[in-house]
Subunit: 97 residues, 2 copies
Amino acid sequence: MQIREFQELINTMYSDRDRERGSAATFLWLSEEFGELAAALREGTHEELAAEFADVLAWLVTLANVCEVDLTGALEAKYGSGCPGCGQMQCTCNSKP
Amino acid sequence: MQIREFQELINTMYSDRDRERGSAATFLWLSEEFGELAAALREGTHEELAAEFADVLAWLVTLANVCEVDLTGALEAKYGSGCPGCGQMQCTCNSKP
């Protein structure tokens, strides 16, 4: 699945409600899922953990939609030419940036 | 960009160090970026905000790599057939699930 395709899927699925809610309230929903990811890391099955990753990603994409940020462009700008620290495709930084 | 392709890119870039660090310590790095996203929402430029989205996504993917979770499969299982609440491609839930 393309990142852009998933961002458009979430936009189609939820966008009207998301834009009404705004970015701060959407961040609250994302934070709730973030906490559930922590719980699943501690004591979830692999399947529950995978579902929590999906939820965090869906809410991150939702927030990006509310903020009109194109995630594909953002990723390509930051990571498309290699590690932002050392510029290598296999990082050689002393500490991960 | 494919989600799987980005997950593999991050794996190539950083995986050895990530696996040594483990999931709890990787979650700390993700949390740090999560805080930076909140700060950029409050007072960042659109470009700074986009870069913080990229960083959160990169660390989320890193954590998924450490946990051996395939994000594409997780997304397709949870959102590929529509909203997990109502099953529609355009959500009709009373409250967003």
